[in-house]
Amino acid sequence: MPEAAVRIRDLRKTFGAVEAVAGVDLDIGDGEFFSMLGPSGSGKTTVLRLIAGFERPTAGTVELGGVDVTGLAPFDRDVNTVFQDYALFPHLDVLRNVEYGLKVRRVPRAARRERAVEALRSVRLDGLERRRPGELSGGQRQRVALARALVNEPRVLLLDEPLGALDLKLREEMQVELKSIQRRAGITFVFVTHDQEEALTLSDRVAVLDRGRVQQVGTPAEVYERPATGFVAGFVGTSNRVGDVCVRPEKLHVEIGDDLPGPPGGGRHALGTVAEVVYAGAVTRFVIDLDSGDRVVALQQNLRTSSTDVTRQRGARVRVGWEAAHEFRVPSDAVPASPAAPAS
């Protein structure tokens, strides 16, 4: 493995009685798009602030490019941050905001102007150099924050829910853009989000955090298909418990009818009744009470069905099938926090 851009060992941070980070180890590779995913209060921001140097850890070390920076101030660390609220300087125009990092590092005026203009072009903001942050839209501010960080060519860029304040459409646009900027610049991204879809689509690897601990680190596919703990299974996507195994909703195949033919060879199946059915445009969401007592959620693509058909299927008898390869097991002490917990 190439030298880690960020290496964290047994990192801990307590605020009074709250243990925000409770022993975290992470190795983030050079040029990697690495996400930290977790519910509110799981310690994502605190880990980021520890990497940036805004907080001193209670214990543990932070290394950047193989150098221990645990005791260094933020301005002595080769990382830059895109803050959730952007934290643009309101009294400086866009160009001066972007130039700021170069100015305090005493880059000559002509050179820094050139680089700032270039950075603004790379986030498609040329022409807005003289605006104040107060005169920009949310998406434009987000880009300024990004340009302000990127212009310094940091080894590592930390992003704390950078798209959280944007509406859905803009967020999807910016996701694509972030990813392409990261690939072009070859910078390591440490990306914090509580949006699992965002984490899965953008990242090379994802760390799932809960209560200050890393629950699992892996590629999006690993985390989704083979969750290591019940928490991960419940937090990343929905999971159904069928007997003593779990299956994802989209892996279930629903067949409707009273006189179903025998089960296809090799697959698993169970019979049940449709308790609830919701038409959601591209997919239909079935909530099915299995005869075994488990309640499962199944997603079916609307290949042929339309909204008028599906609503008539409430109460219908169904057969639910899946493949053995799609089953996964999680430690039984932690039941997945599925919204479709068995009804009493």
Binding site: P74, N80, V104
Partner: protein
């Protein structure tokens, strides 16, 4: 809220009366400063600029104005440094007794001036006299600074609370050291708050009389004290009137500016 027409008229009359009680006497002072009648007979028999020229030529008055300006500038300068530091400590750091600081800083302006005056006068006698420092301009500045600090402290604290620490963090994140962060980010955000606080502070110092009485030696006669001393000398009455009128005009300007600055939502750059 809605009022009946009668209640509305009554409220307007009451408000008019209230304002009249405050502002008519001030107006009288202004008019009298150009009243041609030596005994300030009313209505004025005519207008003259004579009293203003006489006031300008009055040595004692000129010296007093100068002393007051020096005291105001000195006290404001001290308050700027102390008030800003205290506000920073309270807004940006955690330490034992942080909540008590506000009380301690604000108390001097609430205490009766005579108490502060006596306390300071005693303290100066005990501490400064053995060092060979008598009552004078310096002690006046110290005395005024005790209550001027509040205006700076409150203005700066409010501004720091509103701007939060995240801009300073962003600055440090971009590589600025502590001094650069203060100069490029914190100070611009504070500038208008500091200016507003300084104007108020200067105005407070300029018209202070009670604490000044106890802390000024014979050599440091501020304008209010000079006015008070000359108030009952019939010979000086016209000059006193002119000075009072000048003070009214001079006080309105900084208060007006300070109010506009503190209500402006963003710092002036």
């Amino acid at each position: 809220m809605t009022f009946s027409p009668a209640a509305r008229i009554a409220l307007r009359v009451l408000m008019g009366l209230g304002l009249a009680v405050i502002y008519v006497p001030l107006l009288v002072v202004l008019v009298n400063s150009v009243n041609a009648d030596r005994a300030f007979g009313w209505p004025p028999s005519g207008f003259t600029g004579h009293w203003w020229t006489r006031a300008m030529d009055n040595d004692g008055a000129r010296r007093a104005v100068l002393t007051s300006v020096k005291a105001g500038v000195g006290a404001t300068a001290a308050a700027l440094v102390l008030g800003t530091l205290a506000a920073f400590a309270v807004a940006r750091h955690r330490f034992f007794g942080r909540e008590a600081v506000s009380l301690v800083v604000v108390l001097p302006i609430a205490l009766p001036g005579i108490v502060t005056g006596i306390a300071l006068s005693n303290a100066f006698q005990v501490v400064l006299k053995p060092l060979g420092i008598g009552l004078g301009l310096f002690t006046v500045i110290v005395g005024h600074a005790t209550f001027c600090v509040v205006t700076i402290y409150n203005n700066v604290l409010a501004r720091l609370r509103r701007t939060g620490a995240n801009l300073e963090e962003a600055s440090a994140d971009l590589g600025a050291d502590t001094f650069q962060t203060f100069w490029y980010v914190t100070f611009p955000a504070l500038r208008s708050a500091l200016f507003a606080g300084a104007l108020l502070s200067f105005a407070l110092s300029f018209d202070e009389i009670i604490v000044t009485t106890f802390t000024a030696g014979p050599g440091a006669e501020t304008l209010p004290i000079w006015i008070f001393n000359n108030l009952f000398r019939p010979n000086q009455a016209p000059v006193v009137n002119v000075l009072a009128a000048a003070l009214i005009v001079l006080s309105i300007v900084p208060i007006y500016l300070a109010q506009r600055l503190s209500s402006a939502s963003r710092g002036v750059t």
